[in-house]
Amino acid sequence: MSVDLIPLVTFGLLALVVAVGALAASELLGPRRRDPEKLTSYECGVPIFETAREPFHIRFYLIAILFILFDIETVFMVPYVTLFRDLGVFGLVEMGTFVAILGLGLLYCWKRGALEWD
């Protein structure tokens, strides 16, 4: 084995020991007082009212897709902002085109009724 790899292997082994050790210690040493309230799934502190394993309405998918669309826009927007000054007018025009195309997409969804809930 090459000498360069020794730190890597040591690190890997240490990570394994810490991870397994922590879980094992908690399992072996931790006190356990189960009651029905504690065994329910945790959902932001609100009591659960039904199971999540059921078909969702197709509308949710549409909303999710729209969300991803504008999420991606933000992902591209953030690096642009950090280089805003260097890119100058070219960057502004480029970003303007990008946002305009996305805007057309929003207009399309809107007119086709994708944003109407009922």
Binding site: D86, G88, K111
Partner: protein
């Protein structure tokens, strides 16, 4: 880091930008301009067709502006145009890309023209159809110009997504859903092959540029495995046997005009990219000569199997799909020769010229299929063509011209296309046998191309056939394709010279 774009960069992407802008314009126009206040998919929507055709005409004109893609090859007599690497090597401004782009743009225009009446008869005339054609067309033009692995892959993925949707555009057809699903799954699978191949090639050369495929210092194992995987990926896209199983189902389930678009445009840009890859790989690099032999084997099985499978088809769309597979086989011959590279660097030109012929005859045939089926899947069977010539002499004539051209009969441009390809193979030396197989295979093909012609002219009409009549767009398409098919037989020389100059812009 400031980015400096020069005029060549803008000239290179101008046609693609115009196509994409047209696609967006059609989508938006469909939202606002409606017949009676609401969206009516049974109306003809001529305005959408007009926007599309004008966009295609503009994009075509953009090829010929000074410093445009085809300007050099068009104006300088016999001189290969100067070409420039643009966008940091992602694209190249050259006549080869321009020639392929011209075919794609014309295909987009003809598809738009022929679709209005057909989609309206199906009650499916939605702006998205034209939007997808033009957005995909933009990606196809970029693929024809792409010169590095990443831009090739991005362009292929973009165009594939639009074509998957077009294949299943008639959502309520069971066949449409089946064909689109098969196409999507196999397409995604083939993209995996392509990407893995690109990763291997990148590993071998350490560069993403296509020019690096000819590097003599590259790792030969990685390079050859990578090239093979890339060829498999392209084999799926062009529908070469044994990667062809999606083709008949996808074409049968797709709207007839969309099937014509899929057959022509996807093939044009995939072959353009494939030729760029094999030309770069064949230039003194570490690519093994066995890859040329494998390509030749692929060409042989594709020609033979495509034509044999078409013999028994009773559904005209499936027949044309298998014929499309066979034509991929003919088109692989120039690819093999381009990989070999010697003795003549111009051999790839046969593919470009053949694609022009293929554009005219295939769009013509699928337009007639669209007219005859007129909103009814049962009318895609061969019997529906019985006696068509009596009621619709012009439609029958246009179909006859297209089919004879597909069969390669003299008097049509299909003959010149096959002649160019087979002649190049004969002069190539080691690949002489490809010409023999090709000629035998096209002899077989005459049988199934004549079947609809016999039905149209010599059979009695069973039931009255109502076809998409009185539609100016469809008629204009048929006039253009049948006129072009015949006219190019007599004056195909200038187009052939342009294709030779175009191929010289990449082989040097």
């Amino acid at each position: 880091m400031p980015i400096n774009l020069v005029s060549a960069d803008y000239a290179a992407i101008l046609p693609a930008v115009i196509l994409i802008a047209t696609g967006l314009a059609v989508l938006i126009a469909d939202l606002f301009v409606t017949d009676d206040g609401y969206d009516n998919p049974s109306s003809e929507k001529s305005h959408l067709v007009w926007i599309g055709v004008c966009g295609a005409a503009l994009a075509f004109a953009a090829l010929f502006v000074p410093s445009g893609l085809l300007f050099g090859a068009w104006s300088e007599n016999g001189v290969a145009s100067g070409s420039e690497v643009v966008f940091l090597g992602a694209l190249r401004l050259d006549a080869f890309g321009g020639f392929a782009a011209a075919i794609i743009i014309v295909a987009a225009g003809l598809t738009t023209l022929s679709s209005g009446g057909y989609l309206a008869a199906q009650g499916q005339n939605r702006g998205e159809f034209y939007g997808l054609v033009y957005l995909g067309g933009g990606a196809m033009v970029l693929l024809a110009q792409a010169t590095n692995l990443i831009s090739i892959f991005v362009a292929i993925e973009t165009l594939s997504l639009t074509v998957y949707v077009l294949a299943g555009f008639f959502r309520k057809w069971k066949l449409g859903a089946e064909g689109a699903a098969k196409y999507f799954i196999l397409g995604a699978f083939s993209s995996g092959f392509l990407l893995l191949g690109m990763a291997f090639v990148y590993g071998a050369t350490g560069e993403i540029s296509l020019a690096a495929l000819g590097k003599s210092t590259a790792d030969p194992y990685l390079m050859n495995v990578g090239l093979l995987l890339i060829l498999v990926g392209f084999g799926f896209k062009v529908g070469a046997v044994p990667f062809h199983s999606w083709v008949p189902d996808a074409y049968q389930g797709a709207p007839a005009t969309a099937a014509g678009w899929m057959a022509v445009a996807v093939k044009v840009c995939s072959f353009a990219a494939l030729i760029r890859v094999v030309v770069a790989a064949g230039q003194g690099g570490v690519a093994d000569a066995a890859i040329g032999k494998m390509l030749a084997a692929l060409a042989v099985v594709t020609m033979v199997l495509g034509n044999l499978a078409a013999l028994n088809q009773t559904n005209i769309k499936r027949m044309l799909a298998y014929s499309g597979i066979a034509h991929s086989g003919y088109l692989l011959i120039p690819v093999v020769l381009a990989f070999q590279g010697t003795p003549d660097p111009k051999v790839g030109a046969g593919a470009l010229f053949y694609l022009v012929a293929y554009l005219l005859m295939t769009i013509g045939a699928f337009t007639v299929v669209a007219m005859v089926s007129n909103g009814d899947t049962d009318r895609e069977e061969l019997e529906s063509y019985n006696g068509l010539a009596k009621r619709q002499p012009f439609v029958a004539f246009a179909m006859t011209v297209s089919l004879l051209s597909l069969a390669g009969m003299p008097g049509t441009v299909g003959f010149l296309g096959k002649l160019t390809i087979f002649k190049d193979a004969v002069y190539s030396g080691p690949y002489l046998y490809l010409a023999f197989v090709g000629i035998l295979a096209s002899l077989v093909s005459v049988y199934y191309y004549l079947r609809p012609i016999v039905a149209m002219y010599f059979r009695e009409e069973g039931e009255t056939i109502e076809i998409v009549e009185n539609n100016w767009g469809v008629k204009l398409t048929l006039v253009l394709t049948s006129f072009g098919t015949i006219a190019l037989f007599f004056c195909g020389k200038s187009v052939h010279e342009l294709s030779v100059r175009s191929i010289q812009s990449i082989t040097g």
